[in-house]
């Protein structure tokens, strides 16, 4: 246990000394916050509140960039090798990465919430317990995805390519950038296969529609299952040595992480609950009169 806490502390210290960390984990999310709130929502408190979910979702999902990059660098440079001759275990190493990332993500989320409240006068921040649970399962699950990415790639370049491939559909099809109600039907039926959709949906419902934890069980439960599965796969695929080969069945393991949302997506395509919620939230922007136009983009 003490190895785990000491490693977590080291990871936090190292991140705070890293300029890239500041750019990707502080400047970039806050920049996105101002673009969404100031430009897309034109400062309208109700629309800002509508976009706050997607903004925080982007921040939370960004976890997998930092975690995959750090782990691959640590392996490439032989840093993991050095830890391997000590009593540190793979779970210590991976778990501390996740916890450090969580501890480093929370302050930015707090700042975003505070700015929404103080600068854009969002009347209330919805259901806070739901928000806390979703930020937690979201950060842990997308962080674990980053650890899996680091294990199925060998070099920083490969990691960045794979990250891009994952990132683009996650942000464009999930409602994180374009509101779900805005997407064509085909895109929507694809969206329900993506974990990001459930995170955006959950956060938006919690913040904008004040849904309680009980009304968000699908989102929370699916992300929590996914978090456990991805962390388990990350631990299975973990490699200390730079020249250690990627196990032959690694791709299979990595593909297994898509399973929960594949099943949920099939079910959701018939059920349509998540999409309906997104649709009604989107339309609610029109219904009540508000000072500025809710039109997006």
């Amino acid at each position: 246990m003490s190895n785990f806490t000491n490693l977590t502390r080291m990871r936090i210290q190292l991140a705070l000394r890293n300029k890239m960390f500041f750019f990707f984990s502080v400047i970039f999310p806050l920049g996105m916050f101002f673009v969404y709130s100031g430009i897309f929502a034109k400062g309208d408190p109700r629309v800002v509140s509508y976009f706050l979910g997607p903004v925080i979702a982007l921040n939370v999902m960004g976890s997998f960039w930092g975690l995959s990059a750090t782990l691959v660098t640590f392996r490439e440079q032989g840093i993991l090798r050095r830890f391997h001759v000590t009593p540190v275990s793979a779970t210590d190493m991976l778990g501390s990465s996740l916890l450090a990332n969580y501890a480093l993500t929370l302050p930015t989320v707090f700042v975003e919430l505070a700015l929404a409240r103080l600068v854009f006068h969002v009347p209330n921040l919805g259901n806070l317990p739901s928000l806390a649970v979703l930020v937690t399962v979201g950060t842990v699950s997308f962080g674990s995805l980053g650890l899996v990415v680091a294990s199925v790639t060998n070099t920083m370049q490969e990691t960045q390519v794979l990250n891009q491939l994952i990132w683009l559909p996650l942000i464009f099809l999930s409602g994180a950038t374009l509101p779900m109600g805005y997407l064509p039907k085909a895109a929507k039926s694809l969206a329900v296969f993506l974990p990001a959709t459930y995170l955006v949906s959950g956060l938006q419902n919690a913040l904008y529609s004040s849904f309680s934890v009980w009304k968000l069980l699908i989102q929370i439960f699916s992300l929590a299952c996914w978090a456990l599965l991805t962390f388990f796969v990350a631990a299975q695929l973990f490699r200390w040595e730079p020249e250690a080969k990627i196990p032959r069945n690694a791709k299979l393991w990595a593909a297994a992480t898509a399973l929960p949302f594949l099943l949920l997506g099939i079910w959701e395509n018939g059920n349509g609950q998540i999409l309906n919620q997104a649709q009604s939230a989107y339309h609610s922007l029109d219904q009540r009169p508000s000072s500025s136009s809710p039109e997006v983009k």
Binding site: N6, L7, M10, L14, G78, R82, P87, W240
Partner: protein, 306 residues
């Protein structure tokens, strides 16, 4: 052998079709500095990494401090200290932080402050790892190997890539550990290093131990003869050179002739006379007292240095 702190018997390790280690056996006694000497790719690092519990063996038996590195790796890691090859630390970790962090992983700990002083790193205590020089990084690596006051130390090529002055600094540190009766298994491809630092040396080539003993024993084995190395303008046959006065052995290595002589002055005179008679010319001549390199050449017909 039964009570040795470190035992290796018939160790075999394959990477795909390549046999990196092909039946290596040796034992290291407590308080001994034991060296694995051999060219790059001889299987030294693989052997050490199996003993550290970093790699699995294919066959054979190894034990370190009475533990099986494969099965008891968790327990073993508390007992050993290692300075690995091709490893590093995070760029932005400070020297003292690294020592403290690594010390925190162990049940038995040495005072990081004392290690810092001993390895001459006090002034660098708050320096980031990426701002250290090569020699400072290596001193830190050795200090970190000692944080748990280990029973066995593994130093894999502790001076590779360092300039001669820094290398001597590292020698001083290892010699001090030797005086303290630390058990050390080190690998090297530098003759000087093995001769100077090791109580016993196993010469390794192509995954096999080809000679084992104290540096003195090994050199005595090569006949205790003086080595005369000559380059000639025109090729000459080994047989003719062997027939010259005082010559115990002569062979061609990489285009020059390595001659072992019992009576060097007479041998040199007769080489010069012989060459004159043949219309051949002496391009260069070097005389050296026998070293472990000669043992290696004798056993393999190749030089240790590439």
């Amino acid at each position: 052998m039964a009570n040795s702190i470190l035992q290796v018997e018939d160790l075999v390790k394959r990477y795909g079709d390549v046999e990196a280690v092909r039946g290596v056996s040796f034992a290291v006694e407590e308080g001994e500095v034991f060296g694995l000497l051999g060219p790059n790719g001889a299987g030294k690092t693989t052997t050490v990494e199996i003993l550290e519990g970093l790699r699995n063996l294919d066959s054979g038996r190894v034990s370190v401090c009475g533990l099986n590195p494969q099965r008891d790796s968790a327990a073993l890691k508390h007992e050993i200290g290692a300075a690995l090859q091709s490893t590093s630390l995070p760029e932005k970790i400070r020297v003292m932080e690294a020592l403290r962090l690594f010390a925190s992983f162990y049940k038995r700990r040495r005072n990081p402050e004392e290690l810092l002083k001993r390895f001459g790193l006090q002034e660098k205590r708050n320096t980031f790892y990426n701002q250290l020089s090569g020699g400072q990084k290596q001193r830190l690596a050795l200090a970190m190997a000692l944080v748990n006051d280990p029973k066995v130390l593994f130093f894999d090529e502790p001076t590779a890539g360092l300039d001669p002055q820094v290398r001597r600094e590292i020698y001083d540190i290892i010699e001090e550990l030797r005086r303290e009766k630390k058990t050390i298994l080190m690998t090297t491809h530098y003759i000087e290093e093995a001769e100077r630092l090791c109580d016993r040396v196993a010469i390794v080539d192509h995954g096999k131990v080809i000679a084992l003993g104290s540096p003195r024993e090994l050199k005595a084995h090569s006949g205790g003869t003086t080595r005369i190395e000559v380059r000639l303008a025109k090729p000459e046959s080994n047989g003719v050179l062997k027939g010259l006065e005082g010559v115990a052995d002569a062979r061609e290595v990489d285009g020059s002739y390595v001659i072992h002589s019992n009576r060097p002055p007479q041998t040199i005179v007769s080489i010069v006379k012989h060459l004159e008679a043949q219309g051949n010319e002496l391009v260069s001549l070097e005389i050296a007292s026998p070293s472990l390199e000669d043992v290696f050449i004798e056993m393999t017909g190749r030089r240790l240095r590439d």
